[in-house]
Amino acid sequence: MSEAVSILPLVLVLLPTLGTGAVVLAARYGQHLRSQVTNFVMFATFVAACWQFYIVQQGTELVYALEGFMEFGLRWRVDFVGATFSVVVTLVWFLATVFARDYMAHEHHQTRFFAFWTFTLGGTVGVFVAGDLFSLFLFFEAMTFAAYVLVIHEQDRESMRAGNVYLYLSIAGGLALLGVIFLLQFVVGATGFEPALHLIVAKGISPWLILVMLIGGFGVKAGMLPLHIWLPKAHPVAPAPASAVLSAIMIKTGAYGFLRLLYVVLSVPDGSALFVYQQNFGYLFIWIGAVTMFIGAIMGILNDSMKRVLAYSSISQMGYILFAVGSGVLLGSRGAFGFAGAWMHMINHAFFKSFLFLLAGAVYLHTGELDLNKLGGLRRQMPIALGFFLVAAASITGIPGFNGYVSKIVIHEAILEAYHLLHWPSLLWLERIFVITGGLTAAYISKIWLKTFFGKPKKDWSEVRDLNLSHRLVFGIYVAISLIIGLSAQGAVDRLVLPAANLLPFDQGDIAHLGHVPFWGRAELLSPVTSYAIAVAVLFLLWKFGDRIKVPRWLSVEYLVYRQVYNGFRAGILGLIYLAETWLPSRISSLTRAWRRVDQVTQETKAQIKRWKPPKVELISATDLMKKLEEARAQEREQVKVWRVGDGELKRRIQKVRQEWQEREERLEERIYDVVEGVPRGEAKEEGKKSLDERVRELADWAATRKFNPYWNTKNLGFDAWIVAIVIALILFVFLVLR
């Protein structure tokens, strides 16, 4: 494999990036020019990608580096995988752009949309031509942040919320990826795509740590369970062209990352002692893939919004890809089939999923409706759309002759191969999950087109028109691609998969075997029958019991995983804050504050008692006074309730005050009884009432301060107690701990 320095990959990234500026500029001179410029930029990028593919496909790797960019240099390296997928990316993007022109015509903020739309392409295509993990990360982040604007385009409550989930999960993912980069940079000294597992182990860093970070990094984008939660929120709220590229292309960056990292960076030769790591990684990925595809499909069946079903379908299809990635990694050098399946399905899914999303967009454009329960009976008004939809459905469910069939067969072969080589019974179960999921896929897709185009119309569709010319052209291209790949099955594998598989040290026998996949065998041709049989059963059950199926909230991944993690985290942090900001300082400052207050109250009370002279007035009846006292006590009890907010210190204090009070009361009563006669009682009553009232008010004040400011806080000037205590503690620490 020869290398050539070429500016092409740079151009491929720069065209859309700088094109953003051109789009914004052109927008000043009208919508028409803007869409022309956008189309032109997209087309130029596509041409550049094709040119690059043409060169690379002859056996050269294109490299380019901008040294001195952020110390590490920005590196491009385009091999067959990157070049092929660049073509796919730019083609899908171009088609979606053409589609978007009509779709976006009635939307707000069009210029912003198209600017970020173009910029996102720059980031995305950059991911596939990046030469090392760091450059990949840069493009990845650019794509993530630019795509955020596409997600929240509607700017309503729902999309903002979806955007938040997307953004924060993506930032978390980006940081996890950054963790991988840190470790690689530390271990290898560079972040290129070279085998590094042995070095990692030699440095004493657990490869599992890297794997977990990797899953965090790429798994978020790839919609891997349970990191997928942003996907069914974000993809449906974005405008249709955006959801198409998000679902078809952007999630592939995750898969692509796994492909590079798992097959190259975290790989070892078969015989190595570290191979067990690779095998475990692979096995883990098969399971993750199986769970993802199964749950995704189930959720797809249970949802009723067209775009949401498709979003779950994306998750499910990503499950297929991860499944294939895993089965390839599991087998090491014998894993050519797994790799081939993953790679082929990445390409195929990119096409048919964008096809489906654009179709959903077209339906929405003409009917203004995406809810499957409100659509229906559109076959009369939109027969052409129905036709396209059936083609797309045939692709995704793997009907022979359409492109989905090719990759599904290869993936199926991969898992069977894994079983034949390893004889792990669990692999056979995984194969069954795969087959069942195929059925579920057929079920949810059939549900969409049945509910949209057949059945009774729920609304008046007489105004609805069929697809316009440009959309027909776009969809026509999709159909052509689907049929070309599907019909030439083995030819597609030979041209697209074998050169890619040859980049990796796979067993030559397997690669040769890959040249003769039994696409037209009897069992393979009959596989859709199984799928559709399952689909019919599922749809029947859904029709019969669908109304009764309510997924309880506590079963959602959000609830089961994130809510719990969040709650735990929140509880921990709040506890920490409580300890640091409230509990400890309150302990310390209440020492001073409370005792100061106690001093004061005691002194005042003493003074009052001293000041108190035997009343010269008529004495009130003891019962009256007792009643008064009862009232005061009741009031006090009320206060005590308020003070519960406070701490033990306060309680002790209250106890003390109460005790005093009791004494005072007793003394008061004694005195009252002492001067039974000959004294004007009214005054005594007044006096007693007054002092009691005062006390009650005082305590109420005190309680009020406790209530409003029950704790020390940073607004409080009494901060010094805390600080001094710490300073002393630290000095003592130096004293005591060291000696």
Binding site: Q155, Y168, I171, L175, A580, I726, I731, V734
Partner: protein, 498 residues
């Protein structure tokens, strides 16, 4: 002549300028603004010249009055010092440029002259601290800086600011009292105050008075930690930085806190031998406190409604990063710490300045009320966003580079845990910064926004800070290669590999 005396002149210039401003400015009010800006600008130019000299000569020393240490006072500039000087002078120049038209609207017209004088005194003391190679000199400048800083908080005379100011003053007096005690202790056991001589005499002193030396180290560290707002000694910071005028907050959060870190760097890396430090639990406690500070600061920032309070708490968290870098005792981590001092100074002053503008135009301080401002005032909001993204550590901004070095340093020091701390806390940074950015650009206004023209000086200074954030992210190799030899020297001198 100027070349020979450039270092003392750089310190003197702002101090003398402050006097002149007080003398003349009380009658001619615009004099203060123009002359203040001019003085800061010249200081900046002189610092640039010092940096140039240092990059040529490696090190510069100046004996005040011609008395060589240990008798005399020495000023010293090495690459790290020069880098910090450049940060301080540059950021304070652009903050002042920003304040040129903004400040009169923000504070009482009568105190503007005083404000400028205090600002220059503060700048002079900051430069003095960085340049001094003598502990007592450092102490004097420390005190000048803390009085000036507290006065800058209280200058407007409103209640909250004064409360915050007195809190700040008491705290920093406590801190500097402790520092002075530590310095006295050092002097007692060694008989020197000059850093170089101290470093030479300490091993012997430790052999004879281990307890005193340890106590001294503890007191100095604690005292500096109080002033630099290391968790849990940070309680004064949010109030002080949150209630000061915009330009004060910017310079307080961006620079003043950092200068104490410069002192700590001198203390830990120039005075105490590294192998000696490594044997103490100092590293552990610094790291734990830094980590707690990062997390608690971030969480508290998330809980704030007031944007300036939020930024202030974010400073607490970011100080944690710097202490993390210092406490890791590894080459890359120290580079990261020094670089973070710089990048945080730029980012945080930019954030405070743009937040000040946003507050000015919306009339509200709550985060929720800043929605939609980005469409009306793009420059401040973009500045805020760039600062925010840089804080989160998005490449290719300056904040990413400091985190990069901190992370590599953590790995180098074999402390994988702190890499995770770094990553997790970056996510927390995202949690409190991103809502403002999102709200600013993509949400509807909640309050009536005043339509005004942003003054030219403010625009320029924000644009320069944005450019700096990008430049020092993209071309970080320039400062890094400038700093690396010194840092390597520090570590190789003590056998490296701690």
């Amino acid at each position: 002549m100027i070349t020979a005396h450039i270092m003392p002149l750089t310190i003197l210039l702002p101090l003398v300028g402050a006097y002149l401003i007080l003398l003349v400015g009380s009658k001619h009010r615009s004099f203060a603004r123009n002359f203040g800006l001019l003085t800061t600008g010249i200081t900046f130019a002189m610092v640039c010249y010092i940096t140039y000299l240092v990059s040529n000569q490696g090190k510069m020393a100046y004996y005040l009055g011609g008395w060589a240490p240990p008798l005399g006072i020495e000023l010293r500039a090495d690459p790290i010092t020069a880098f910090l000087l450049l940060t301080f002078a540059g950021v304070s120049f652009f903050v002042l440029l920003f304040a040129y038209d903004i400040l009169p609207g923000e504070i009482n017209g009568k105190v503007i002259t005083r404000y400028y004088a205090l600002y220059l005194v503060l700048l002079g003391s900051l430069l003095g601290i960085v340049l001094s190679n003598d502990f007592f000199n450092i102490y004097v400048f420390l005190e000048i800086s803390s009085i000036a800083a507290a006065a800058l908080v209280a200058v407007n005379g409103d209640k909250l600011a004064m409360e915050a100011s007195i809190k700040y003053l008491v705290m920093s007096t406590l801190g500097s009292g402790t520092v002075l005690m530590g310095i006295a202790g050092l002097y007692m056991v060694t008989g020197y105050l000059s850093l170089d001589f101290l470093a030479g005499a300490l091993p012997q002193a430790y052999a004879s008075h281990p307890l005193t030396v340890l106590m001294t180290l503890g007191m100095l560290t604690v005292g500096i930690a109080v002033k630099a707002a290391l968790f849990p000694l940070h309680v004064w910071l949010p109030d002080a930085h949150g209630s000061a005028p915009t330009s004060s907050s910017a310079i307080l959060s961006g620079l003043v806190v950092k200068v104490y870190i410069a002192v700590l760097l001198k203390l830990l890396y120039r005075v105490f031998p590294l192998d000696f430090l490594a044997a103490l639990p100092l590293q552990g406690s610094l790291l734990v406190m830094a980590t707690l500070g990062i997390f608690i600061g971030s969480i508290m920032a998330i809980r704030q409604r007031d944007i300036k309070k939020m930024l202030a708490y974010s400073t607490v968290a970011q100080i944690g990063y710097v202490f993390l870098g210092i406490g890791l005792f590894s080459e890359k981590a120290m580079l990261g710490a020094v670089y973070h001092v710089f990048s945080h100074a730029v980012m945080k002053s930019m954030l405070f300045l743009s937040a000040g503008l946003l507050i000015k135009y919306s009339g509200k301080r709550t985060i929720a009320d800043l929605s939609g401002l980005g469409r009306v005032y793009p420059i401040p909001m973009i500045a805020f966003s760039v600062g925010a993204l840089s804080m989160v550590g998005v490449p290719p901004l300056a904040g990413f580079m400091s985190k990069w070095y901190l992370g590599l340093g953590a790995l180098e020091a074999n402390q994988l845990l702190f890499l995770l701390v770094l990553l997790l806390s970056s996510l927390l940074n995202g949690f409190y910064y991103m809502p403002i950015v999102i709200g600013g650009f993509f949400k509807k206004e909640t309050v009536e926004i005043r339509q005004e023209k942003i003054p030219l000086g403010a625009q320029i200074s924000l644009l320069v800070l944005i450019a700096a954030t990008f430049f020092f992210g993209l071309f970080s190799n320039i400062p890094i290669s400038f700093l690396t030899p010194t840092v390597q020297g520090i570590f190789s001198a003590f056998g490296g590999g701690i």
